[in-house]
């Protein structure tokens, strides 16, 4: 019985269907806010759903040079991993007792799988630009994972536990992490790393439509492209939710907390969209230097402050 419950949770709520719908709505918010920043009107609310339905109906082209197993399997694997991360995060937020020891570390690792599948899919596409995109994504992954992990470890050090339940309980009794100096510093680092994790400007180096024509996505068409885009949409839900859980007291669906939860989520999304719209694309060496230099330093300072007790 428990197994059936887990499967339903994974596939429907709070797993695949729920994450996909909310994630696609978030990509609409992203496009609408972008349009308003640029003084345009922007697409209607059903636009991401129309895009997905259209892509599912298009022809699937597999290039002759591609390894079709890796090329077609990897987007599905990435979507499965992103959905799993979303399921874990929603479960611990809605029912903290479903938390298990070390689930913060597990989720942090699952969140890197979509990037790894993109790297493998881009290399398997047989396209030189796809391989270039993969190489860039790999360098970017090495660059941002270190400060991101240290930023989340700041919260873990402060709380003294690896489970989401303890993190949420600590923030309920002692105030949110954003109320402390180390929390604020780690939050800033996490926002920038999230920007790179989601492949947004200024760190959309691996996709770079105007430069390498889509990079890792270049050879995907039809249904696989829809899966790749869904993958990004679900990650768009997962990454802000992880940040909210670690630094801003989590989300809940009871009473007034529904409103504050939605506001927290939209606030983080809007911060990310504004960073995206006010910055040009940086070069890969600039990105690596940015993450290993200033971002690493800030996260290390946050860590030290957390150890001291600020």
């Amino acid at each position: 019985m428990q197994a059936v419950m887990y499967i339903v949770q994974y596939l429907v709520f709070p797993g695949f269907v729920f994450s996909a719908v909310v994630g696609l709505m978030t990509t609409w918010v992203d496009r609408k806010v972008t349009a308003r920043v640029q003084l345009r009107v922007g697409p209607p609310w059903y636009q991401p759903f129309a895009d997905t339905a259209k892509l599912l109906g298009k022809e699937v082209v597999v290039p002759a040079d591609a390894r079709w197993t890796g090329f077609l399997l990897m987007p599905v694997l990435g979507l499965a991993a992103a959905t799993l991360a979303s399921t874990i995060l929603w479960s611990v937020n809605l029912r903290p007792e479903s938390s298990f020891v070390g689930d913060t570390i597990v989720t942090l690792y699952i969140m890197t799988i979509p990037a790894i599948t993109l790297i493998i899919g881009g290399s398997a596409s047989g396209n030189p630009l796809g391989a270039l995109g993969s190489a860039r994504e790999m360098k970017l992954l090495f660059a941002y994972e270190l400060p991101l992990a240290i930023a989340f470890l700041t919260t873990i050090v402060k709380v003294g536990s690896f489970s989401f339940e303890k993190v949420l309980m600590y923030q309920q009794y002692n105030g949110v992490m954003l109320g402390s100096v180390s929390g604020v510093l780690a939050f800033i680092v996490a926002i920038f790393c999230a920007q790179a994790k989601l492949g947004f400007l200024p760190f959309d180096i691996a996709e770079a439509e105007t430069e390498i024509a889509g990079g890792t996505h270049i050879e995907y068409s039809g249904a696989p492209l829809a899966v790749v885009r869904l993958n990004t949409a679900v990650m768009y839900l997962v990454v802000p939710l992880f940040i909210i859980t670690m630094f801003w007291g989590g989300v809940a669906f009871t009473g007034w907390r529904i409103l504050t939860s939605v506001l927290k989520y939209v606030a983080i999304v809007v911060i990310m969209v504004l960073i995206k719209n006010t910055n040009p694309r940086v070069r890969i060496d600039h990105a690596v230097r940015f993450f290993w230099g200033p971002m690493f330093a800030v996260s290390a300072i946050a860590m030290i402050l957390a150890v001291i007790g600020y």
């Binding site: 496009r31 349009a35 640029q38 003084l39 345009r40 009107v41 922007g42 697409p43 209607p44 059903y46 636009q47 129309a50 895009d51 997905t52 339905a53 259209k54 599912l56 109906g57 298009k58 022809e59 699937v60 082209v61 439509e209 105007t210 024509a213 889509g214 996505h217 270049i218 050879e219 995907y220 068409s221 039809g222 492209l225």
Partner: protein, 137 residues
């Protein structure tokens, strides 16, 4: 009408091919994406790879060098694909008709679904042409 076709009418992604145009039509195509016309209201986005495209916007007379690439681009695009010839050059070679390096209008080599004349065509004309292509579906 199937759901996929209905969705296609709501999100036509365009891919922009220059087959030797003087860049004037290309500027007018980009004008459609600016705040004044904002075709993203109708779900149109300019994509970077032909594998993502639903509509090919082709401008320019076909030059000898671009001809094999144009044929390969058309073959590489996932079906259903629509082709729009933009500008006087795209429709009938324009002023380059007698040029030594222009090998003829686009429809000599690949099927074209709509012709948008003008040198260059106004953004309104381009939008109206794409609407006509979508109504053919």
């Amino acid at each position: 009408m199937s759901l996929a076709l209905k969705a296609l009418k709501k999100s036509p992604w365009v891919f922009h091919v220059n087959t030797g145009a003087c860049n004037n039509c290309d500027i007018e195509i980009l004008d459609c994406l600016t705040p004044r016309f904002d075709v993203e209201r109708f779900g149109v986005i300019l994509v970077g790879s032909v594998r993502h495209a639903d509509v090919l916007l082709i401008s320019g007379p076909v030059t000898q060098n671009i001809l094999p690439r144009l044929k390969r681009l058309y073959e590489a695009a996932p079906r259903p694909i629509k082709v729009v010839a933009i500008g006087a050059c795209g429709c009938r070679c324009g002023i380059f008709r007698d040029a030594y390096n222009a090998v003829g209008p686009i429809d000599k080599y690949i099927p074209v679904d709509a012709y948008i004349p003008g040198c260059p065509p106004k953004p309104e004309t381009i939008i109206s042409g794409i609407v006509k292509v979508l109504n053919q579906l």
